[in-house]
C-alpha cells in the first residue's frame, strides 16, 4: 500500500547527515563530559560545538543555550523554574488558551501553589490580541508565556509586539518556539524574548533532546538537582550523541531555511488551493496569511471524525486528526475550541503538516484520496 507521511509537526525522520554525525558518539567517543581526562574532554568538546551551532542559529551567546531532553521539559522549566524562583511573592502569569499542553498543564499546576494565571482568549484565527495582553498585565505579573507559532493551526503570534510590551513592563517573556525553528527566520538578539524552547525531533534531529535559550540574568530554580551540569540549570550526564545530532539538525535547518521554506510554502499553497477549491464544505483553520509554511488545518463537513481518520489510515495517509483521549474517542482540540471553530459529529478536523520529504505527488494523492473517501461516505450515508 502507498504510504504518505504528512504529519511533520508531530515528528520528523532523522536526516542521514544527522545520523552520520551522531554515530561516533555511541561507542567510539563515550567519555563522560564532566570527566577531566581526554575521554571526557572529547565529549565536552562535542557538546560545546553543538551549543555554538544552536547559539549561532538563534543569534545569541553560547552561554545562553541550555540542553535538555525535549521541549516539554524546556516549557516546564521555564514556567516552574521562574515561578519557584519567585515563590515567596507568588505573582501572576499571562498565557493563552491555545498553548501546548506542556505550557497549560504546568500553569494549572502552579495555580495549585497560589500563583495566579490569566489565559488570554484568541480571535477566530488563533491569534492573541496584544492590547488584551496589555490590559491583562498587573503589578505582580512576572511572566508572559506565549507560543511563537501554533502547532495545530500554524498561526504565528504577534511575537514582536508581545516582546515589546513585555519589555516595557519589565516582565520576562517566554516563548515556546518548537514549531517556529527551522520554518521561519529567528533572531533572538533583535527580538527581546527571554526564554525560547525548541526540540530536536521536530527539525529532523533525534528524539529525546531539546534546547532552550535563557537570556543572561534570568533566574530559574532548577527542576533537577545533582551534579550542577549545564550551568546548574539541569543536573544529569548530558545526552552527548543527542546533543551532537541536535546541533547538526539546527545547522542544516538554518542553512536551508530560505530555499526550504519557499519550496514548502509553494507546495502548501498548491495543497490548500486544491483542498478548498475541489472539495466542497471545507474550511481552512488558522490565519490565512500569517502562518507557518507547511501547517494545513482543514475542517471537512459531512463526515465524522472517526470515519475520516480511519479511512485516511486505511489509505496509508498519516495526518493528525486530533488526539485520542483516554477513552479512545476523538475530540476537537482545545485550540480549535478556543478559536470557536464550528464542530459537530459530522465535521472532521485534520491537521496536515508538510515537511522536507513532502512532494507534489504526495499532496495530490492526499487530495484525490480525500475526494474519494468523501464521495464514498456520501454514498454509504444514502444506502
Amino acid at each position: 500500500m502507498k504510504r504518505v507521511y504528512i504529519d511533520y509537526n508531530a515528528t520528523t525522520p532523522v536526516r542521514q547527515e544527522v545520523v552520520k554525525i551522531m554515530q561516533p558518539y555511541y561507542s567510539e567517543i563515550y567519555g563522560n563530559p564532566s570527566s577531566i581526562h581526554i575521554f571526557g574532554q572529547e565529549s565536552r568538546a562535542a557538546i560545546e560545538e553543538a551549543r555554538w551551532k544552536v547559539a549561532r542559529a538563534l543569534n545569541v551567546e553560547n552561554s545562553e543555550i541550555c540542553f535538555n531532553s525535549c521541549a516539554t521539559e524546556g516549557n516546564n522549566y521555564a514556567l516552574k523554574g521562574l515561578a519557584f524562583s519567585n515563590y515567596e511573592s507568588k505573582g501572576h502569569i499571562i498565557t493563552s488558551l491555545v498553548e501546548h499542553n506542556s505550557v497549560l498543564q504546568p500553569c494549572r499546576y502552579l495555580q495549585r501553589f497560589g500563583f495566579d494565571v490569566t489565559y488570554l482568549e484568541v480571535d477566530q484565527y488563533g491569534a492573541i490580541d496584544p492590547e488584551a495582553l496589555r490590559k491583562a498585565i498587573r503589578r505582580e505579573t512576572f511572566l508572559i508565556a506565549l507560543m511563537y507559532a501554533n502547532n495545530e493551526v500554524g498561526t504565528i503570534q504577534p511575537v514582536e509586539k508581545i516582546a515589546q510590551i513585555a519589555r516595557e513592563h519589565n516582565i520576562t517573556f517566554f516563548t515556546d518556539g518548537v514549531q517556529a525553528i527551522g520554518k521561519i527566520k529567528l533572531d533572538l538578539e533583535k527580538l527581546p524574548v527571554d526564554i525560547f524552547t525548541l526540540s530536536g525531533h521536530k527539525i529532523y534531529g533525534p528524539k529525546g533532546v531539546g534546547a532552550m535559550f535563557i537570556r543572561k540574568g534570568s533566574k530559574l530554580a532548577s527542576l533537577l538537582h545533582g551534579g550542577g551540569h549545564e550551568r546548574a540549570h539541569r543536573a544529569g550526564t548530558e545526552n552527548v550523541q543527542g546533543i551532537v545530532g541536535l546541533g547538526e539538525a539546527v545547522t542544516l535547518s538554518l542553512n536551508e531555511l530560505d530555499s526550504e521554506s519557499q519550496r514548502i510554502n509553494e507546495l502548501t499553497q498548491h495543497f490548500i488551493h486544491r483542498l478548498l477549491g475541489e472539495i466542497p464544505r471545507t474550511k481552512l483553520n488558522g490565519h490565512p496569511l500569517n502562518r507557518l509554511p507547511g501547517t494545513v488545518n482543514i475542517s471537512f463537513e459531512g463526515i465524522s471524525k472517526e470515519d475520516l481518520f480511519i479511512q485516511l489510515d486505511l489509505h496509508g495517509i498519516a495526518a493528525s486528526s486530533g488526539s485520542a483521549c483516554s477513552s479512545g474517542s476523538i475530540k476537537p482540540s482545545h485550540v480549535l475550541k478556543a478559536m470557536r471553530v464550528k464542530d459537530s459529529d459530522n465535521i472532521a478536523h485534520v491537521r496536515f503538516s508538510l515537511g522536507h520529504y513532502s512532494t507534489e505527488t504526495e499532496v495530490n494523492y492526499v487530495v484525490d484520496t480525500i475526494q474519494h473517501i468523501l464521495e464514498n461516505n456520501k454514498q454509504s450515508v444514502n444506502l
Partner: protein, 364 residues
C-alpha cells in the same frame, strides 16, 4: 462476490480475538473496531465500561498488533445511552427486570458495526458470539442457529437481529466449543484478560444496581408497601418494588414455616406477592413486542422449545399468536420464575425462531 473485508468488533476478550484470527486464516481482510460505550456509574469516572475500559481497549489493541490488522475505536457513548441504558431504566420504571444485552445487540452494536462496515467498504461484520448464521436456500432466508457448544450458546442474546443484519454477519467462534477457542487462543498466543469473563451489567462496573436506580428513578418507586401472600394476606412491609425481583428469596423480612420467594410484583397496588417455591411455577404467559428472525410473525400456533432467560434450558411449549406482535406461550410443564421484562425466545431444535418480552402478569 461480496468483498472479503470484515469489521470485527473487539471487546478485549478472547472470543472476539480468536474470531478475528479465524477469519484472517480464511483470507479475510480484517479491520478491528472497539465501540466506546460509556458507563453509568456514580463515581464520576468517565469510561470504565467493562468492554471499553482503558484496559479492555489496550487488550483489543494488542490483539490487532499481534495479528497485524488495523484497529480503531468509535465513540458511541451517546447512542449506547439512548439505545441501551435509557430503555434499561424505563423497564425498571415499570417494575420489570430488563436484560440490556437483548437491546444492545440489534439496536446498538449491529447498528454501529454495520454503519462502520458501510463506511469502510466492508461487506461483513463479525463478533465473538457463540452462535451461527446459516443461509437456507429453500426459504431464501438467513437462519440464526445455536452455537455448537451447548454450554456456551449465546444465540438467545441475538434474537432481535433481523435479516438485513444477519445477511452481513459472521460468527466465527459459533462453530467451535469454548475449550477449542481457549486452545486456539493459547496456540496463537493471544493475550487474555485477567479480569473475569463477563459480568451482568457492563455499564455498571463498580456501582450497585440499587444505588444507580435510586439516582435515576423517582422516589415514588421506592415507596414502602405491603408484602402479601397469593391470597392477599398481609405478611409484612416492603421497601419499594425496585428492591425485589421474581424468584428472590433473601431479604424479604418475613419468616414463614418454609422458604418464601417473590412470586410477582404489582405496580398498581405497590405490593410484593410472595409464596412458597411451588407458587413460582407457571405454565402460561404472554410475550409482546415480538421479533422474528424471518421477519414474518407466525400466523398460527406451533410447538417449539422456549427459553425464558439466558440460563434456562429451553422447555417444550406451544406458541399461540394473539394479534399483531403478541403471543401466548403455554409450557408443557410449569417453569420456575417466569420474570416480566425478560425475554422468552423460541427455538426449533438448533434454529432460533424469534421471541418477545414477557408481559407483567398484572397487565393481563
Amino acid at each position: 462476490m461480496p468483498s472479503k473485508r470484515v469489521i470485527v468488533g473487539l471487546s478485549g476478550g478472547v472470543d472476539s480475538a480468536v474470531a478475528a484470527a479465524l477469519l484472517q486464516k480464511e483470507g479475510y481482510e480484517i479491520i478491528g473496531i472497539s465501540l466506546i460505550m460509556g458507563s453509568a456509574n456514580l463515581t464520576g469516572i468517565k469510561d470504565n465500561n467493562q468492554y471499553s475500559s482503558p484496559e479492555s481497549l489496550q487488550l483489543a489493541r494488542s490483539v490487532a498488533e499481534k495479528l497485524n490488522f488495523p484497529y480503531y475505536t468509535y465513540d458511541c457513548s451517546e447512542p449506547f445511552r439512548r439505545e441501551v441504558i435509557q430503555p434499561f431504566i424505563r423497564a425498571y420504571r415499570r417494575a420489570t427486570t430488563p436484560n440490556p444485552c437483548l437491546l444492545c445487540n440489534p439496536y446498538f452494536k449491529w447498528k454501529a458495526l454495520l454503519s462502520a462496515a458501510k463506511k469502510h467498504n466492508a461487506f461483513w461484520v463479525a463478533t465473538g458470539h457463540y452462535s451461527r448464521v446459516i443461509y437456507d436456500s429453500q426459504s431464501q432466508l438467513f437462519q440464526l442457529w445455536r452455537g455448537r457448544d451447548p454450554q456456551k450458546d449465546q444465540s438467545y442474546f441475538l434474537y432481535r437481529l433481523n435479516q438485513k443484519q444477519l445477511q452481513h454477519t459472521i460468527f466465527p467462534v459459533g462453530r467451535y466449543k469454548k475449550r477449542d477457542i481457549i486452545q486456539l487462543a493459547l496456540k496463537l498466543n493471544i493475550p487474555q484478560s485477567a479480569a473475569k469473563e463477563s459480568q451482568d451489567l457492563c455499564f455498571l462496573p463498580d456501582t450497585s444496581l440499587k444505588a444507580f436506580l435510586k439516582q435515576e428513578l423517582p422516589p415514588s418507586l421506592f415507596k414502602n408497601g405491603y408484602i402479601l401472600d397469593t391470597n392477599g394476606k398481609i405478611l409484612g412491609q416492603h421497601e419499594g418494588l425496585l428492591n425485589y425481583t421474581i424468584g428472590q428469596r433473601k431479604g424479604l423480612g418475613v419468616s414463614m414455616g418454609q422458604p418464601f420467594y417473590v412470586i410477582s410484583l404489582n405496580q398498581k397496588e405497590n405490593t410484593v406477592i410472595i409464596g412458597p417455591e411451588s407458587e413460582l411455577y407457571r405454565k402460561e404467559f404472554i410475550i409482546d413486542k415480538c421479533s422474528w428472525i424471518s421477519g414474518e410473525p407466525p400466523l398460527s400456533q406451533f410447538d417449539c422449545q422456549v427459553k425464558i432467560r439466558y440460563k434456562h434450558d429451553a422447555a417444550p411449549a406451544r406458541l399461540e399468536p394473539q394479534g399483531n406482535s403478541t403471543c401466548k406461550i403455554i409450557f408443557e410443564s410449569p417453569q420456575k420464575a417466569i420474570t416480566p421484562g425478560q425475554s422468552a425466545v423460541c427455538y426449533k431444535d438448533q434454529i432460533l425462531l424469534g421471541g418477545g418480552f414477557i408481559v407483567p402478569y398484572s397487565d393481563y
